[in-house]
Symmetry: C2
Subunit: 198 residues, 2 copies
């Protein structure tokens, strides 16, 4: 008995067009955590400016060459996909580029995820499985919550949990700058969708 | 200064071909949690049998008509994407089908996620943002951990956290049957990848 209502089309996610143009004008390397965070904060700002999504940016970098492997921005509303948080987008794009589900596979350089805001519960789990070995966070979860976003069901000791899985965590890089992106978004009437942050 | 190494191709995820054929031979409705769980357990078994992924199946159902909206199976290795856990796959396919990031939007029927195994930390967060209002679990996280999979950084009170967000949780539906899929997979030499379960 057929189920004609199920059309199982592929799920496809594309980065906004402006990202390619923007990155083409940037340096090839990002030698410090501050430099990497400045990039992902700018991605968050541009994402709002171009109307392509929420106030969150991310990037996966390779630490041997300090190059960006893949960027990510929040695409929940524009892609109709609650999974499309900036961190998830950056990680899945990076995995496609390197050709593996595991960015920490033998033979790969160390990969770092930089995110303009502390990961929500979904992104926290996603980070655990991705193979990244460092994460660098800008704004804190409390900064996102202060403007109405929800972090979701995260354990209080999430940093320890990541460290136990071989993932180092650096917090508060450009925190003020990253938080201001969230504040301005909400002050300008940006939608704080049920899908929360990311 | 261009970054020629970044080719920002779309990320695309496709369900395996066998799913369409299999579902075409199933009933149109799944009137009970047991019936829905039997389907997703079979999806997990077939996923292993056809070599398309890990021992996990899921589905998003609409509870008004008891129809399947979208299936999901673990596609981490085959899609080179650590995000492609069965629950995530089912939810993102369902959102594409209904045309919204929020399966709980006003005017939509109640959507339920049925999963052959308790969600990992990433899927737990994903569930929180998806708009589903019920989840039904087969095997427990402890059953997955017993065969080597990792649940990730989940809070101990994850069920309460979901309930506080308006998501009801039913556990242990066909637990023995669902657990046996995990056990057989590992006994037959199935890969317990770093990406853990899902």
């Amino acid at each position: 008995m057929s189920i004609p209502s199920i059309r199982i089309q592929p799920y496809c996610l594309e980065l906004p067009v402006w990202i390619t143009d923007y990155l083409a004008q940037q340096p090839e390397t990002y030698p410090t955590p501050d430099a990497r965070m400045d990039l992902v904060i700018t991605l968050a700002q541009l994402n709002i400016q171009y109307g392509t999504g929420g106030p969150f940016g991310a990037g996966v970098f390779r630490l041997d060459t300090q190059e960006l492997v893949a960027p990510g921005v929040n695409l929940v509303l524009s892609s109709k996909s609650s999974m499309a948080h900036a961190e998830i987008v950056a990680m899945l794009m990076a995995q496609q580029i390197v050709g593996s589900h595991n960015l920490g596979a033998i033979g790969f350089p160390t990969h770092e995820l930089v995110t303009s805001c502390e990961p929500c519960s979904m992104c926290l789990g996603g980070i655990s499985w991705s193979g990244v070995r460092h994460i660098v966070c800008g704004a804190r979860g409390s900064d996102a919550e202060a403007v109405g976003f929800d972090e979701g069901p995260k354990p209080a000791n999430w940093i320890v949990e990541l460290e136990q899985r071989g993932i180092a965590v650096t917090m508060d890089i450009r925190r003020t700058s990253a938080s201001s992106v969230l504040q301005q978004y909400v002050q300008n009437g940006g939608e704080v969708y049920n899908g929360r942050k990311g």
